[in-house]
Subunit: 262 residues, 2 copies
C-alpha cells in the first residue's frame, strides 16, 4: 500500500536532495516519486545520494507542473511550516499517517514537498486538502527537504505497516475525520483536477458577477478554496456544482440591468 | 531538556553527514553533538550541509574514543538494524522517546550512531543499555546516518516537548490525538441557522437560474447540503458565500437573453 502514495518534490534545487529523498522513501517502502521542474535531473549527485535506490530515481516522473504531478490524486497534502495568516486544516505527521492508513485503499494520496529555500507557494498550499506541519524547534525549524521526506515516510510506514519488532500493529484512524466521507459513500472522491476546474469556474463567475475585483481579490477565493478542499467533494457533488455554475453563468454572460448597459 | 541528550556519531566518513546531522538535531531542539574520530572534521562540506546550524558544529566535541564521548552518560542507546544473533533490550524509536521523557531529568542520555558502511561494532553495541531499531523496508533498510539522527531527534522532541500545534502534550496518549481540526481557527464556526439561511439562499438562486425544477428537485439540494454540512463552514466563510450569492442574485433577477425577453 505504501507504493500507492506519491511523493511530489516541487522545483528542487539541489539534485543531492532528490537522491537523498529517493533513499529515504526506499528505506520506508515508498517508491512513487514525482519531480516538478527539478533544476538538475538526472544528475550524478542525485544518483550518488540515492545509494541503493537508483531504481526509484529511474522511475521518477518529471512533471511540468502541479496539475501533471497530481493527475488522479484525490487527497493532496502539503508539508509546510505552520502558517497563521489563513488557517488551513492541518495534521501532525502522526495524524496524517493515521488518516493515510484509513484512506489509502480508496484514495490516490499525494504529499507535496517544496523548494529548499522557500517551501511551497501559497498557490500550491491552496491546492491541498490538508497541510502537515512537522513539529520543530521554534528557533530553527528548517528541515532539509530529504529529511522531511524521511520523517513523513517513516510515519506513513508506522501507520500502514506498523513496527512488528515493537509489537506495534498498523493503526488506522479510529475517529473518522468529519470532513472525509465514510467508506460506504455513494460516489468516489473527485480528483484534484476536477476540484480545481470547479474552483476556477466558480472564480470566473464571481469575477463576472462583479463581486470580486481580479486586481484586488482580497481573500475571497482563498476562503472558498479552503472550504471546498476541506469538504473534499465527491464526483457527483462536483458534477452538481458544475451544473449549478453553468446555469448561473448563462445569466451572468447576459447583459443585466445592474451592469448599466442598455 | 532536549539539550541534555547527546548525539554521538562514531567514525563518520562523510563530513556532509555530520553537517546534516547537526542541522537535523537543531530542527528538533537538540544541540549536544559528539564525534568519535571523524574522518574529516572540520570540513567545508559539513559546514555547508549544516545550513543555519554552524554553532552546533562549532561546539561539537571531537572525541578519541567511546569512553570519552560517553563520559558521565548513564543511559546509553545504540541505533542498529535489528540483530537476532545476541538479543538485546530493544526499543522502537517511539518507545525510546517515552523512556527518554521519563528519565531525562535524572539521567545523562547518549545515543550512538554508527559508521555509514557498517554501523556500530558488536563491542560498541554491547556498551548500550538499549538498542533502538528504526522500522524500515525489509528489502532496503539502510537509512542515511543523518536521516536516522533526524528520526530519533524527532521522536525525542515529540516525547519530551510534544506537538502543541496538534494539541499533543508530551507523552499524551494517542487516542486523544485526533481532535479535528486540532488547531486555532481564525473564525468561529457558523451556527446551524446561519448555514441553513445560506443553503436556502443557494436553493432559491438555483431555482431562479432554471437549473432546479422545484417540483422535481431530484437530489441536487440533498447533495449540496451534505457537502456544506460536512465542511462545517465558519462564520467568515458563510459571510463570503452569502456575498457571492447576493452578487449572483442581482444578475439572476435581471432579464437575460436566455429567458427570451427583450
Amino acid at each position: 500500500m505504501l507504493d500507492r502514495i506519491r511523493i511530489v518534490m516541487v522545483e528542487t534545487t539541489h539534485p543531492g536532495n532528490i537522491g537523498a529523498a529517493a533513499r529515504a522513501m526506499n528505506t520506508m517502502g515508498l517508491s512513487d516519486l514525482r519531480l516538478i521542474k527539478p533544476l538538475q535531473f538526472p544528475h550524478v549527485e542525485a544518483t550518488a545520494r540515492a545509494s541503493g535506490s537508483a531504481d526509484i530515481l529511474a522511475r521518477a516522473q518529471v512533471c511540468a507542473d502541479l496539475d501533471e504531478a497530481l493527475a488522479g490524486a484525490t487527497l493532496v497534502v502539503g508539508t509546510s511550516a505552520r502558517q497563521r495568516r489563513i488557517p488551513w486544516p492541518c495534521l501532525s505527521p502522526r495524524q496524517f499517517g493515521e488518516v493515510a492508513a484509513g484512506r489509502v485503499e480508496h484514495e490516490q494520496i499525494a504529499v507535496l514537498f517544496g523548494r529548499e529555500d522557500r517551501g511551497l507557494t501559497n498557490e500550491e498550499l491552496q491546492r491541498c486538502n490538508y497541510h502537515v506541519a512537522i513539529p520543530a524547534n521554534p528557533d530553527y525549524g528548517v528541515l532539509n527537504v530529504a529529511a522531511a521526506v524521511q520523517l513523513i515516510s517513516y510515519e506513513l510506514r508506522l501507520a500502514l505497516v506498523g513496527d512488528p519488532d515493537a509489537g506495534d500493529a498498523p493503526r488506522r484512524s479510529r475517529s473518522q475525520l468529519l470532513e472525509i466521507p465514510p467508506m460506504e459513500w455513494d460516489a468516489p472522491p473527485a480528483d484534484s483536477a476536477e476540484v480545481e476546474h470547479f474552483l476556477r469556474h466558480l472564480e470566473q463567475l464571481i469575477i463576472e458577477s462583479g463581486f470580486l475585483d481580479p486586481d484586488n481579490p482580497a481573500q475571497v477565493m482563498t476562503r472558498l478554496r479552503r472550504l471546498f478542499l476541506r469538504a473534499r467533494p465527491d464526483k457527483m457533488e462536483i458534477s452538481t456544482l458544475r451544473g449549478v455554475l453553468t446555469s448561473f453563468g448563462k445569466h451572468l454572460a447576459a447583459p443585466s440591468d445592474d451592469a448599466g448597459r442598455p
